[in-house]
Amino acid sequence: MASPLTQIFNRISATLHSSRRNHSPSQRTPRGNINQEKFRCYSVCVARLAIMAMLAILIGLLTLLTWHFTKVYTRTSLNALAYGLRYELLQRPMLRMWKILNSTVEITTSQVKLSEYVIRKYSRAENQAQQIELYEVMRDVTWALFASHKALNSMSIKYRNGFVQAFHRDLRDKNTYYIYSNLYNYTMIGPYDSNQTSSNQGWNDQMIHGNISAIWYREPLDPDTGRKTGKQKEIPPDELLNIAGISQVPDGAASWHVAVSKFTNSPLLSAALPVRDEGGGSIVAVVGVTTALYSVGQLMKELVELHGGHIYLTSQEGWLLATSSSTPLLRNSPSGPTLMMAVDSEDEIIQSGAKWLDKAYGGQLPVNRKLHTAAARLGHERYYIDSFFLNLTRLPMVGVLCIPRKYIMGKVDARAFKTLMILISASVCVLVVGCICIFILTNGVSKEMKLRAELISHYDARRKAEASSNFKSQFLANMSHELRTPMAAVIGLLDILLCDDRLTEEHYSTITQIRRCSTALLRLLNNILDISKVESGKLVLEEAEFDLGRELEGLIDMYSVQCKKHNVETIIDLSDDMPKVVRGDSGRVVQIFANLISNSIKFTTSGYIIVRGWCENLKSLSDNENFYVDQKALWSAFQKRLKRQGLHEKNTSCKNDNTMILYFEVEDTGCGIDPSKWESVFESFEQADPSTTRLHGGTGLGLCIVRSLVNKMGGEIKVVKKNGSGTLMQLYLLLSTPPDIPRESYRLKFSQLNLKVVLALNGTMSRTILSKWLLKLGVPIWEANEWNELTRVLQEIFKPTNYSKKNEFFLIVVDIGLLNLSTDIWKEQLNFLDTFKKVAKFGWVLNHDTSNTIKIELRRRGHLLMVNGPLYKAKMIQIIEAVKKETSPELTVNTEQLTFFKDAEEAINDEEKGKIGKKCLEGLRILLAEDTPVLQRVASIMLEQMGATVVVVGDGAQAVEALNKSADWTADCTADCTPYDLVLMDCQMPKMDGYEATKAIRRAEMESESESGSHIPIVALTAHAMSSDEAKCLEVGMDAYLTKPIDCKLMVSTILSLTKTQEADDN
């Protein structure tokens, strides 16, 4: 049991070692993955082997135990039984022997007693006749006894005088004989003689042998009746049987011995007893009884026949007395048959059994001891040997029983063997099945392990990829910052160059071109920065109120310039219910539309670009079922979004109840987008058609930024199907509106006016939209899209017959493009229009490139109502308002007044046209807080060149102090404005940095608000360009934000916009 176990363990450890050995050198190689795989395989293999080995051990143990216990229990119980059986088997022949002996003794004794009695009766025999009578009586008595014991072989009486009487049963021919000696040869010897002589002396064998002349007769007898059946025959003496003589009872006591007769082949047991005369004196006769031991042998044979064993009886010396086998017990020797030793028996088993016993006990059988052995090897079989010692006084005997083990244990052994076989095969089966199961199960486990490992590696890879993408964004953010700085410098320097008066026209145009390119490049950089900001999650949306309509109109104004060149109409159509003011990040909203519109412009060569806008209140929206399908889709998407964003979003939107969903459409008549690309155009660096890059340029970032921003504002954007060519983008934004913004009702106003309008515009779309809108407001209109039509319409309207009513008044809106400007005909046309001056007001829609001569001419003729195209609702309202007030020339709505609210960027554009005046900052007092002397100097020179007065302070604390002083001074002098118009504040300064200083200044302003209510614009100067810095700057109360190195142009425009706003506010 132990050795196979150790073998298994050895093997397992060997496998482990080998795997380790295989593994350890390869670990150093760089291809760790493969080795890891291998190692995993090995470990699985080893685990499998271990489990299998355990199973094998377990099953083996179970099998062995089962087998052992079943075997042992049956064996012990069987052994007990077998012992009983053996004992019984041995006991019975012994008992029989014992009985035989006893009966022999009894018979002998009774014969002796009877003989004594008879002999005593006839002791006074006087004559021969009496003597014969005695013998007759003795014969009858003896017969009676002999007949009553069938087992007796012979019975003899030998008288003192040598006369012999004997009965004999021949076992071979089943005859019974009476044997007697011739009476006549014996002399009558008086019993007294014998009385007188000593019994010891009177009898000897010599006498018998001397009586050789005596004639012996044998008479066959009827075995039942004892009558003579045949004639007597003479036989030689001692021929048939041993007659017990005096020699056998030397001491007068009963004697035993085993005799051998010629006629039986079994030993005989003979007993002899003396018959004494009256008074117990001398021996008068000897009675001998012999019993054949044949019956014992028979019994034994019967007993063991069934068991296939052997029994034999020996005398103490080892003479064989009886066996269960049929081999002869006697040996022929020259002196007649003699007894045989057990070791010489012809029966092999008996012989070998006897030999075994001899060998085991050295021939000295332990007296009075029973012997039981369970494992004696005789021949080729194992035998049980039991011996039993029968201690008779004269004839101690030993019985030996040999039973083949096979007989008792054979079945058990066979069964045990079978059981073992079955158990082993069963356990082998179980083991095999178990191993297969383990293999299959662990196979699953190992597969799962592999999958899991793969999953983990994938996860790692994904994390790495995410990290690298993050790094990319970070890198882009940093890079674009680094790139922006030189770009700003380039642009700034170009601006400075443009200021130079000495440039030739050629230089000027080239530089303008360079500047445009640089701006484009900067825009691209900004786009990348935006993308990376969005991706790195740094984009923070502002929350400020702004006028959405105005922003969008400004945007349209801006792009219309570009569009005019392309002969593309740009139209904005915002519904009247759009909130005037919304909260949000105006810059980003404008960016969305700027990107969309510029995108549309890029792909539209003719036709129009239209921006539509309408809105729904979040609450009222669910009640309104009439919006069309796309809107519905948008709405459902929006609801989904709401659900996704969960309660948080809902709470914020419910807090101020007037969150609006602003829907927008940007439609163009360009080449359109293939439906399969509708989704992908919003991906980074994705363009609808790769060939467009060649045609139109661009990086494909615009729409990606748009979508990111729209999503950030809680909206969605998508491309939808459009009738006809072109693209239709729909988007919605979630913006909140500040409460209680009153809405003007144009309808009321205009209907009161009793106004009639003639729209003479080039663009079909814008005209249609405007006319629809005006019609809805209840204003009757006429349309014309070219000069001839206009004349026709005008003549129609102003026919003297029709034109009668006094209180209604006409407005004629004329696009300057309707006039034929290429030749001088336009003056004629103006003359024609002048004829209607008395009955109608004129509004002129100018183009950005309308030459000054035309403007001057118009002004000269009293057409003061001029707006820059394109015409949209807000401008229309302006015109109408102006007309309504019957305006004086001073209040003419001109370009400046319409657009003065435009943001800083537009201010640049405006100023660009007329070039920046060198002294545009004339009269401004600027406080510069900057610690670096170099920057101090540079900035102050820059500003001074612009005509500003600069006061320089070294840190934040000084700045605060200077402002406070100036405030005091202001208070003293009761001046209307603070001495400083603006503060330029470096963010990082010693003692008190820009943020702190700004906070302090704002605090001071708050405190003194009751007195002056001033708000000094503070512009941050910082070397950082991230939005977070910007946010921080704005958070502490700064108004604008400039990056170092200072871009002169940008600085000027910023300062201008801020100081202008200030003025406007002051006004």
Binding site: E482, T485, P486, A489, V490, G492, L493, I496, L497, D931, T932, P933, V934, L935, Q936, R937, V938, I941, M942, E944, Q945, D986, Q988, P990, A1023, K1044, P1045, I1046, C1048
Partner: protein, 152 residues
Amino acid sequence: MDAVSQLQRQFVEYTTSLYREGYLDDQFTQLQKLQDESNPDFVVEVVTLFFEDSEKLLNNLTTALQQENIDYKQVDAHVHQFKGSSSSIGAQRVKNVCVVFRNYCDEKNLDGCVLCLQQAKNEYILIRNKLEALFNLEQQILQAGGSVPMMA
């Protein structure tokens, strides 16, 4: 006149080399633009200011980095200032070193900082020499009666 034109050519070549080798950038040109009749020595003035400021800052940085416990915030502030002033006069290479220096500051990498300080000093001395040479040339031109050519 030949001497003057030679000097002028030399000046132009020298300036171009300064731009080409990256010692200076457009900011310096912008400075030169700012110089006019009202501020005839503006560039020299500003550059001198830069020299003074830089030497002060470099000394500060050297002492700050020799401290037992280095106040990286302080170092960072100095470097930031140095970066601001150098970028304002257009000393591009000094500025670039400052950018790297600030990164090391953020990482609190002393070895990197010391290395960067060394580099910054080297760059500073280089640019100082270059600029001084430039001003010398300028002086020579002026003394020779020529006008300093404008770099466009």
